[in-house]
């Protein structure tokens, strides 16, 4: 049988001795997921703003489309991107397959629907009077939308944290377009899968513990963000 306790002890030893391979994987994971979320925010926020501010035909269809894409299985997206980035595929000439950029772009695409949906909802939840008031006070269209975005800041943060959560915990995209190459494209999830395959369970357990730690920390952040919003409203209400 597997020696679970021994595995956990060895894992803790790896974590506390600051094993270079282990923390290399953690840093890569945080970097890839972080850049992916930044990219997704940059191209997702404009879409969310258009969806929230403008009225056009088929708006509900677009929103439903993004909402249903939230649940796309990562391995399906991974396969799809593999076919695109493969040398025989439409973007094969870029030579991105099995590079960090492929993972970053893949994860950015993966989290875009979550980001758009949550941000759109957050902007829509802002009182329409904010926009009107800003305009009455002489704000330009651009300044008025910024004022609304500021009001939706908590929802905006929530969308970023949820996206990061999804990016860091996904396996399919990183495995299929990254190739799980040691020291280059292996991230927490793919490395856990590799070390389990290889029977090096102490490493797998250590990586698993760190991944859970990161995910817990993120969720505590979400709760904290909500608390802050609550405090903010309490503080503002007497005015």
């Amino acid at each position: 049988m597997v020696d679970v306790l021994g595995g956990i002890m060895q894992a803790l030893q790896l974590i506390f001795t600051g094993d270079a391979t282990l923390y290399g994987i953690v840093c890569r994971t945080l970097l890839f997921s972080g850049v992916a979320v930044v990219l997704a925010t940059l191209w997702g926020t404009p879409v969310a703003m258009v969806l929230a501010f403008k009225n056009f035909r088929g708006k509900t269809i677009v929103k439903t489309f993004f909402n249903s894409l939230i649940g796309i299985p990562t391995v399906v997206l991974g396969l799809f991107l593999y076919l695109i980035f493969s040398k025989g595929g439409p973007l094969g000439f870029l030579g991105l397959l099995y590079t960090p950029a492929a993972i970053i772009l893949g994860e950015a695409l993966l989290v875009t629907p979550i980001l758009i949906s949550i941000t759109t909802n957050a902007i829509e939840a802002v009182d329409p009077d904010v926009m009107n008031l800003a305009k009455t006070l002489g704000a330009s269209e651009s300044q008025a939308s910024l004022a609304v975005l500021k009001e939706a800041l908590n929802g905006f943060l929530l969308s970023n944290i949820a996206s990061f959560n999804r990016a860091i915990a996904e396996l399919g995209v990183a495995l299929l377009v990254g190739g799980n190459i040691v020291g280059l494209t292996d991230v927490l999830t793919t490395a856990i899968s590799r070390y389990t395959q290889r029977g090096e369970l102490d490493f797998a357990i250590a990586l698993g513990l760190l991944l859970m730690l990161i995910v817990f920390a993120i969720n505590i952040l979400i709760i904290a963000a909500r608390r802050i919003k609550l405090l903010f409203e309490v503080w503002r209400s007497p005015q």
Binding site: V35, L39, L42, T45, P46, P100, S142, N180, Q197, G199
Partner: protein, 338 residues
């Protein structure tokens, strides 16, 4: 007209994407060491042998070896798409098709070992000590006479992933006189569709039999991850031969795909694998830890024709038209084929 906030953001987004993509392209083309992407069968990777060879090779070469581990079927598919430069595989029949269709060249047999049929130590179908054919018949009889035919009780677990091991398993069922499609749909037969490690774990949990490469089995057995016993070993029918092939850099029909193949480093790595240094590393790997070699270098036996029954087994199993790489599939490098 004044620009909207969202328009500005969108421009920044497009620019950032371009920066990420182009910096990657520039980095890998100009600053990183040359990349040699190897697609390998899982057994060479999961046992750690390839890590050792990679380290030894990179110490004296200015090349960054990137290993992508997959079953033989997937490895050959990636090579066909032009996504890798070298393939390390162990399925002579699939390798032959690969060469015939013009995707690879300069094949060299680098190592061999034996598959082993593993199962619960109590051996309910009593296969220990039998030949492979007899053993498979015992497994089938045992499976068909189970009281539970609902499909919940599994006594044989298969890789089911089109890997080298899976293709060997298929051929063993055919040799034993069974139609693989029919056998694999019987209720006692489980197909995992995954790597050797998963398959061994499932077989262990279900107390079932399976076909495994000896390297992965020994590693998992030694580490105490599984308690299955090796019941049939070292028989001609269980021979396992590993080969290396370079992915062709010029395919008339698909020139654009393959012109980015790192052919020179691929050939250099193949020459390294058949060198005495690498062959010794292969044979010695794991001896200390497991008390026996996990793999054996195949170059010396094939050049010296010793030891005899083994060389004949390799030739009849893994040679095509009496050669490890018939002349029409070679491209230069006469020193590889003395």
């Amino acid at each position: 007209m004044e620009m909207h906030t969202w328009q500005k953001l969108l421009i920044v987004a497009v620019l950032s994407t371009i920066i990420v993509v182009s910096s990657t392209i520039v980095y890998f083309n100009h600053f990183a060491k040359r990349r040699l992407i190897i697609s390998t069968t899982t057994s060479l990777y999961d046992t750690g042998l390839l890590d050792l060879l990679e380290e030894n090779y990179e110490a004296s070469h200015n090349v960054d070896i990137n290993v992508v581990a997959a079953g033989t079927g997937i490895a050959l598919q990636q090579a066909q798409n032009g996504d890798v430069d070298v393939v390390l595989v162990h399925s002579p029949s699939m390798e032959r098709t690969f060469l015939e269709r013009g995707y690879g060249e300069n094949r060299k047999i680098i190592a061999y070992n034996f598959f082993t049929i593993v199962g619960p130590t109590v051996d309910p179908a009593s296969i220990a000590g039998k030949t492979v054919q007899e053993a498979l018949r015992c497994v089938v009889n045992y499976g068909r006479n189970l009281t539970d035919q609902s499909g919940r009780t599994k006594i044989w677990v298969s890789r089911g992933d089109n890997s080298g091991t899976h293709s060997k398993e298929r051929s063993l069922w055919e040799i034993a006189g069974y139609n693989y499609t029919l056998i694999s749909s019987e209720p006692w037969y489980a197909s995992v569709g995954s790597g050797m490690a998963d398959t061994l774990n499932v077989a262990d949990q279900k107390s079932a039999y399976t076909l495994s490469d000896v390297g992965t089995y020994l590693k998992f057995h030694k580490d105490g991850v599984i308690s299955l016993s090796a019941l049939i070993t070292e028989e001609q029918a269980l021979l396992n031969v590993y080969s290396v092939m370079a992915v062709k850099s010029s395919i008339p029909a698909n020139q654009s795909i393959h012109e980015q193949i790192n052919y020179n480093d691929a050939m250099d790595f193949i020459k390294y694998l058949v060198s005495p240094v690498a062959q010794q590393l292969i044979t010695d790997y794991g001896k200390e830890v497991y008390g026996q070699s996990l793999f054996f270098g195949a170059v010396q036996p094939l050049t010296t024709n010793m030891p005899l029954p083994l060389v004949d087994w390799i030739k009849s199993y893994a040679f095509f038209n009496g050669s490890e790489c018939p002349p029409q599939y070679r491209n230069g490098f006469p020193e590889l084929y003395p």
